[in-house]
Symmetry: C2
Subunit: 399 residues, 2 copies
């Protein structure tokens, strides 16, 4: 597996893209189109929030055919909590774009991100569809990466190359994150393009595995968006022998896909709203995978732990205090807690490493919290960001 | 029921208190004693965090006898995650104080609040016990209210008077809060004194009811402390006919106790770390009490909702987005959401009240969020505070 320099969603064969400013935002790109020159196998993973945005509902229906050829994305407005009008608006966009591209509406997917509870400026979008299609190109991925951003401070894109039966296969992705990212669904928007030839079952299984080990392992603020979307399009133009949902080739492909998703997930945490540090919370020897996840989440979503890390403050007692709130089983006497690989708590008592040791270690950009529950065989790791006054400022002002 | 002007924990008959600075904090009172001149019926409610501080473990044991006569409290150190040493330290304090007061150790309860994971400065406390006992008085409640504070900005105390069978009965309480307060246990430290004559079963039932409808309905940051403690001492000196765990007198007493606890709970929210506003989240017509609580908690603990209120920002879409994360059942088309009593979302679409209407309403000190789930008969209300940069500052620096 080889990461590609300046790799992007047009690195795999047969993908074009374009982006422009349609006027949802002032003078910033806010509308993007991703297009495969042939119909592609498609799969998606969406928010598990009980309130789902209109585009999410449409994509879930359209993806029942396991195929798609285009994705239209707007930023600045989530088209969520907008009722029948919002749903009809999204359908209209899909139908108009499908007509312009000479596709069936089911072949066009749609995603939105931004403010909840406002109607889309429909005509601004519709009026710009002809220009969006006309301008499709193989060298415009950077524009698309910018157009899907909301409070991100930099675009997030990546591509990797693998060999399958001697054929070169490329997988690429573009993502936006920033706030509202939490495990158990996780994510933000992420669009993955690949020229691999793969069965629908294989594509679904690979995407589910990759998302579970990447986007579902990150959390910014414990908040799960109504619009979270990961879509993969696989157009088969690499002409490799078709991958099924198991076997060596499946594993090579899935491993590369996981790598790609995890790199993007980490970029999202690194660029979380107001974040100054990445926090890695690793739970080992839990009684079940579920308990490992709950323990990691309780620590990673603790405002007290996250502010402690922001302050480079060795007040580690907040780690067992947040762990104790998780609905899991452990014995106080058996657990071990480490901060930056220094044991701080073991045998139910403080190990009390010198503050002079901990404080310099906490100045690093990445902070590791390791909890050995000593109660089973299951592990889980999540990544989160620290909580800063800047996070509060961004979310106080954003409207 | 009549609130007493300048009422405090020495307002009920037979209670003395004292506080001093033993040196855990620099030059601030940090050690307090509450004492009944006769043995009292006693009951307690404690944190459900799986990590419990040493004093909590001791009190749970001692309260099996349903009686107590004294409570010693220190601030500045939680004596939590301190293992056998911490437990032995707390036992030692209890034994030394019991001897000085001529009580059995079981009659002395103990509470601590402050940093987790540090051993108590045992000798500083032990050396000050004689002075603490010698100085006990009927007019020192204000000192005690100050001594139990950590990041509180003002002391919290209150007393009310009721009549039971013609006898005057007084109930009073002192509390400290600020951070780490969350429903499902809720609380901070709260010590309640009363001269009511009541059975042990009656006292336990009344306390459980009162805590459930007050401290368990507030949340600052979704964090549950390892030290949360509510203790009530009822010494019977009002000489009313003994109350049992039901009947008219039980109901009058419990209603007054609930009122007292709710007033203190609201003071805690008002004085939450960095808070500028109180947020009241009311859920109606949920399918069960459990679902009503989960819905209220999902909204009240959402960082995005709390920053929105801090910013007086009418971006109400964050309310349905946080509601959708709760593990409850509802139909998007049937729910109704109001902000400051203005409907903002109904029939699965935005009602879009004019921003010019919402923004001035959001400038008020209390913000009401009402969610009608239209799915059953159960209601629940919680109170929380907004999330400000000041909260982050306090928790970044505190050590």
């Amino acid at each position: 597996m080889k990461p590609l320099k300046q790799g992007n969603i047009t690195s795999p064969l047969g993908f074009k893209t374009n982006a422009l400013c349609c006027g949802i935002k002032r003078k910033k790109q806010d509308l993007a189109l991703i297009y495969s020159i042939t119909q592609a196998r498609a799969a998606g993973v969406f928010t598990t929030n009980r309130i789902k945005a209109a585009p999410v509902k449409i994509d879930i229906k359209s993806l029942k055919q396991n195929k798609a050829q285009a994705i239209i994305v707007n930023s600045g407005n989530a088209n969520c909590c907008t009722g029948k009008t919002g749903y009809a608006d999204a359908q209209k966009i899909v139908r108009v774009l499908a007509k312009d591209l000479d596709l069936k509406p089911n072949d066009v997917l749609i995603a939105s991100t931004g403010v909840i509870g406002k109607y889309l400026p429909l005509n601004k979008i519709l009026n710009n569809i002809p220009g969006l299609v006309k301008g499709l190109g193989f060298n415009k991925a950077d524009k698309t990466a910018l157009a899907i951003m909301t409070t991100d401070t930099y675009p997030k894109q990546l591509a990797v190359e693998i060999k399958l039966n001697g054929k070169k296969v490329t997988i690429a992705a573009v993502a936006k994150g920033a706030g509202m990212i939490c495990p158990n669904m996780a994510t933000m928007l992420c669009f993955i393009t690949t020229d691999v030839h793969i069965s629908s079952a294989g594509l679904k299984a690979a995407l589910a595995e990759a998302v579970d080990d990447s986007f579902n392992c990150i959390s910014v603020d414990g908040q799960m968006s109504t619009n979270d979307t990961v879509i993969i399009l696989a157009n088969g133009l690499a002409l490799n022998k078709q991958i099924k949902n198991k076997g060596k080739e499946y594993r090579v492909f899935t491993k590369a896909l996981k790598f790609l998703c995890l790199q993007l997930a980490k970029m999202i945490i690194e660029d979380a709203e107001g974040a100054t540090k990445m926090i890695q919370v690793s739970i080992t020897r839990a009684r079940s995978k579920k308990e490992a996840k709950q323990a990691a989440g309780a620590i990673a979503n603790s405002a007290l732990v996250k502010t402690m890390i922001a302050g480079e403050n060795p007040n580690w007692g907040r780690i067992p205090a947040s762990l104790g709130q998780a609905d899991i089983s452990f014995k106080e006497e058996k657990i071990k807690i480490s901060l930056q690989k220094k044991v701080v708590y073991q045998n139910a008592k403080p190990v009390l490493p010198d503050k002079d040791v901990l404080i310099p270690l906490l100045k690093k950009k990445q902070v590791n919290i390791d909890v050995d529950l000593n109660n089973g065989d299951y592990s889980h790791t999540v990544w989160t960001a620290d909580l800063t006054a800047e996070y509060v400022r961004i979310n106080t002002e954003y409207s």
